[in-house]
């Protein structure tokens, strides 16, 4: 090419890697100066989309799996999720899952469990792969799953130990408030030594109390009334939205009390 200082050309390059480009000047006598400028560029194509993505429902969680990416230089994967379907990465704005807000870096693995989700809500998910150069693949095909209550044989048959007193008061292991109290037991109480000690004590003494309670409707009604604030507290602690609303109200109430106390103290 003559008189040009920047050109482009297509070339069938053999995969990613370093390529050196030489520019050789040739004069009118077709004499070439081979000691010309050269530069090296690194070609890093984005990985192909992740394939084989499947999602399965659990209780308050989604089980996500995919096929390991064939590229050897994959560093980690991103999981995109939302409560609505989408086409672009920006559409996936989920924040509920315990793996973090979308997109969540799940490391170099081929399966992940997204916990802390809401039963009955459909979640839409996609996965991408990121190579060591930081280049991200296109989004995988979208999959969806709805977390749902899960039962084993004991729960199917009704032969459960569960929350003895709450179950006796509400009459059903599957009652919404009994489920909230069970979830509070699993995710809050059992996470600490003091909580585990309390649960152990509860399971030791509650079965005979529950047996007596089941036979007395008046006592059951009284226990339900007493459990209502406890079940409400359990639901609030487990729900980020409700916790935030409760915190705002608690802060406002506290400030109002402080203001009233200061006014009373003035002479």
């Amino acid at each position: 090419m003559t008189g040009k200082t920047d050109v482009s050309a297509d070339a069938d390059l053999d995969g990613d890697g370093d390529y050196t480009i030489y520019v050789i000047a040739v004069d009118d006598a077709d004499e070439a100066n081979y000691g010309s400028a050269s530069t090296t560029i690194t070609l890093d194509s984005p990985p192909d989309s992740v394939t084989g993505v499947t999602a399965g429902a659990g209780e308050g969680r989604v089980f996500l799996e995919w096929t390991a990416h064939p590229d050897a230089d994959i560093d980690h994967y991103f999981v995109y999720y939302a409560t609505h379907s989408g086409t672009d990465a920006i559409d996936y704005d989920g924040t509920d899952a315990d793996i973090g807000s979308s997109p969540a870096d799940v490391g170099n693995t081929t399966n992940v469990i997204l916990g802390g989700l809401e039963n009955g809500v459909t979640y839409y998910l996609r996965v991408t792969a990121v190579d060591e150069g930081g280049t991200e693949s296109p989004l995988s095909a979208e999959v969806s799953a709805s977390p749902t209550e899960s039962q084993g044989s004991a729960e199917l048959s009704g032969d459960t130990e569960g929350c003895f007193i709450a179950t006796a008061a509400y009459g059903s292991y599957g009652h919404e408030r009994v489920r909230a109290l069970r979830a509070f037991r699993d995710r809050v109480l059992l996470a600490s030594d003091a909580g585990r000690a309390f649960v152990k004590l509860y399971y030791r003494w509650s079965p005979p109390l529950a047996a007596r309670l089941a036979a007395h409707p008046t006592a059951r009604a009284a226990v339900r009334a007493g459990l209502r604030p406890l079940a409400w507290y359990a639901e609030t602690v487990l729900s980020p939205t409700k916790s935030a609303v409760f915190a705002v109200f608690a802060l406002g109430f506290g400030l109002a009390l402080a203001g009233a106390a200061r006014r009373k103290g003035r002479p």
Partner: protein, 229 residues
């Protein structure tokens, strides 16, 4: 003279062979119809497959069999009637069920340990009978423990029921006489049997509280060894 001496020595050496076999034991009444060392007890172990039969279990764990391990022992009371006891262990693994009856991804494991006691009768009519059929009936008391994997959810309980079983015992003593002789002289094991057994277990608290009782009824096929001593 020499011939007479040799004949006398031969008669002396060979005479024990002509004498009838004598038991040196005082046989219990039950054993006097055949001349063997007394058999008071039996013990053995079996391994096989258990197939649950009730929806409570099959909806979560399916109908395919799982391995079961059994130890058993008995005390021979009269003739071939034995007071018999068994202990076993197995576990099932499967995925949970959602309210619509579909499967979830939650994995469960159900451990079962039945303990049984009852009567067993062996149809042995003559000494060293090669194939001995038997039948038994037991009271069953089962401990079960179910856990949801990756979760703190656990349930456990005790359920009673009954079982009926029958099997075939193949006497191994004639197949390997040297080993069986050594077992008897060193350990007092009179007979060794290879055993196949089929059992039906109805473990549902005898039908009480159907809505609140886990039904662990199952069919069991096992193969094992029984020693009588």
């Amino acid at each position: 003279m020499r011939k007479l001496i040799l004949l006398g020595a031969a008669l002396l050496l060979l005479s024990p062979a002509a004498a009838p076999a004598q038991d040196t034991y005082h046989l219990p009444q039950a054993d006097q119809h055949w001349r063997e060392s007394p058999r008071h007890f039996s013990a053995g172990f079996q391994v096989g497959m258990i197939f649950p039969t009730h929806d409570d279990v099959t909806d979560v764990y399916g109908t395919k069999g799982d391995a079961i391990y059994t130890l058993h022992g008995g005390w021979r009371m009269v003739h071939e009637l034995e007071l018999h006891a068994e202990g076993a262990y197995t576990f099932y693994e499967g995925n949970g069920v959602d309210p619509t009856g579909g499967k979830t991804k939650e994995k469960y494991k159900l451990h079962i340990a039945p303990a049984e006691v009852g009567l067993l009768y062996r149809f042995a009519f003559w000494p060293d009978q090669i194939v001995v059929p038997y039948a038994a009936g037991h009271y069953v008391y089962t401990y079960w423990f179910e856990e949801k994997l990756d979760s703190a959810d656990k349930n456990r309980g005790l359920i009673s029921g009954w079982s009926a079983q029958g099997g075939l015992m193949l006497l191994l003593d004639d197949i390997e006489k040297r080993a069986s002789g050594r077992l008897e002289s060193d350990w007092g094991v009179n007979n060794t049997y290879l055993v196949y057994q089929y059992k039906y277990m109805a473990v549902d608290d005898f039908g009480q509280d159907q809505d609140k009782t886990l039904d662990l009824s199952a069919q069991v096929h096992t193969l094992g060894v029984t020693f009588q001593f």
